[in-house]
């Protein structure tokens, strides 16, 4: 299909919106009526037609506007994109992976023409047509990681692998759930996850690391993570928390359906061929409560998950103060009927709301 790109903002007047197409393909993260941390890793080898899992790097209606927002974040704060000196080769690996994947998966939007190391990249939605020499940084306007991730939705962390650990040694991070690349760059897997509650004790990170260290070329993996965001704000960075934190207090029973968003990260993991680094794209999807409630199964389930979530997680995810108001809103969409297993909306088979 040809994607109609939205003209929308993720700040100030927040004109972001999801079409019905985008709502129905939203990566709802709860496969049952409760939630606890798990490694929840699976192969990233496609998914149902039209789903966000189908392509290696999903492109959707928000693409052009998200890239515009990224450019604004970087203009304000260039430290959101950093690469330690030994990571340049991995940046080229990533550039190749994204250009090859997008040109194959979306031939109507992206073209890559290669003649030896002379490459030509055409990005139609963003109006880019650049020729450059592969592995020669002087022929691109930015370093290779920055160049390509200014054209790819989601944050990108490039993890160096050594000493049986992964090291956060490069990244483009402008749509993050409240963590700082500038602070965490250079840390190992356990260090950058240090602030996460409960999961260390459950052995989640030891098992996740073991899995990630063994990811092979051509066999990427994926998982979902989630949090809550008031207003469709992509840049929920700690750098700007002193500005956006106050927005959490603007929720009212009248506006919560439109303002409160479930924020889901589709995290994928690809081994890179030359550097043996691991790239970790973190793609953020936002959906307002009122749009989620158009899917009866998700309405029932979201109420139960948020109601039963341990306080530590509601605190860590930053919505413990707003949880009572969320539950007041969500309970109207929970009629107590059972839900089917799995994340899919099942709008044709699940009964409509019975109250």
């Amino acid at each position: 299909m040809t994607i109609q790109f939205n003209d929308e903002t993720f700040r100030d007047d927040y004109s972001f919106y999801n079409s019905e197409w985008a709502i129905n393909r939203f990566p709802f993260p709860f496969d049952k009526d409760s939630y606890m941390y798990a490694v929840n890793m699976e192969q990233h080898r496609g998914g149902p037609d039209g789903s966000v899992y189908e392509k290696r790097f999903d492109v959707d209606e928000h693409y052009v506007s998200e890239m515009r927002d990224r450019a604004m974040v970087l203009a304000d704060d260039p430290l959101r994109c950093q690469s330690l000196p030994h990571m340049t080769l991995a940046g080229w690996d990533l550039l190749e992976l994204i250009m090859v994947s997008k040109s194959e998966d979306y031939p109507d939007l992206f073209e890559l023409h290669r003649d030896g190391d002379q490459w030509r990249w055409i990005n139609k939605p963003l109006g880019i047509d650049d020729s450059f020499t592969f592995l020669d940084e002087t022929t691109l306007p930015y370093g290779p990681m920055e160049y390509i991730t200014r054209q790819a939705q989601g944050d990108y962390c490039i993890l160096d692998q050594r000493d049986d650990n992964l090291w956060m040694d490069a990244g483009m991070v402008t749509t993050q759930a409240d963590w700082s690349l500038d602070f965490d760059i250079g840390m190992n897997f356990f260090e950058w996850h240090a602030p996460v509650p409960l999961a260390h004790e459950k052995g989640i990170f030891v098992r996740a690391l073991k899995f990630l260290l063994n990811i092979q070329q051509g066999a990427p993996a994926r998982r979902l993570n989630w949090t809550m965001t008031v207003n469709p704000l992509l840049d929920t960075s700690p750098e700007n928390y002193h500005k956006w934190g106050i927005q959490k207090t603007t929720l009212t029973p009248e506006n919560i359906g439109a303002k409160q968003h479930l924020r889901v990260e589709l995290q994928t993991f690809f081994r890179l061929p030359r550097s043996n680094a691991l790239v970790f794209p973190i793609r953020c999807y936002l959906c307002s409560f009122q749009d989620l409630m158009t899917v009866p199964k998700w309405g029932r389930r979201l109420h139960r998950v948020i109601r039963d979530l341990p306080d530590e997680l509601a605190t860590y995810k930053g919505f413990i103060d707003n949880r009572p108001m969320m539950l007041d809103y969500l309970s109207a969409f929970d009629d107590g009927l059972p839900t089917s297993l799995g994340v899919w909306p099942e709008v044709d088979t699940e009964p409509p709301l019975q109250k």
Binding site: D182, W192, H242, G245
Partner: protein, 198 residues
């Protein structure tokens, strides 16, 4: 002794050790203030004959006792900032097998460790021992400015003036803990500052 048992914390928070004399031809000891006591505790004439001590006095008078150990080389500076160029120069000349000993406050140990790592010293050749003040070197996540010797939580960023709470999340690259605006969700509601470990 000016020691302190730090409470258990998250995995990015450094864990400090206890210095012990190791075998080796060359030893570099960097300490500030009460860190001098940790050096004195392991000093022997034989070890000192192969040791370069860099002492950052911070207004204390431990320098005399260190000089009396008769180390092969001795330098005393007033602050870390005044000493760091010299520290870098010494690491530049370091030979394989150099043993590094860091003692004193977290801020000085952290910064000296960063210099050592950047100079290629393996972490297995670096020992640490905390002594003296438990104040922290803090980075404001908002303006990126560093505030040295922070003793209370919350505290005021010396650069942008925001009231920041003290996290245990620590960056070795910055040699600093992270400070985050404490009243971000309720402007002006700043709790009464308390000692970090109170």
């Amino acid at each position: 002794m000016s020691t302190f048992d730090f409470p258990p914390s998250i995995k990015s928070r450094p864990v400090w050790g206890r210095l012990e004399a190791r075998a080796g031809k060359h030893h570099l000891m960097i300490a500030d203030a009460e860190g001098a006591e940790a050096i004195i505790a392991i000093a022997t004439p034989d070890l000192m004959a192969r040791t370069h001590i860099i002492f950052i006095a911070k207004g204390t008078s431990h320098g005399d006792a260190l000089r009396a150990l008769n180390p092969a080389q001795f330098y005393e500076g007033p602050t870390y900032a005044a000493s760091v160029q010299r520290i870098r120069r010494v690491f530049q000349d370091a030979h394989m097998g150099l043993q590094v000993y860091l003692a004193g406050t977290e801020g000085v140990m952290g910064q000296a460790m960063r210099e050592a790592i950047e100079a290629g010293i393996p972490h297995t050749a670096i020992q640490t021992e905390h002594r003296g003040s438990v104040a922290r070197r803090m980075q404001c996540v908002h303006c990126k400015g560093i505030t040295e010797d922070v003793e209370t939580d919350p505290f005021v960023c010396a650069h942008c003036g925001l009231n920041l709470f003290v996290r245990d999340h620590y960056s070795r690259r910055l040699a600093a803990y992270q400070g985050v605006r404490v009243d971000a969700e309720d402007h002006g509601n700043v709790p009464e500052p308390r000692g970090i470990y109170e």
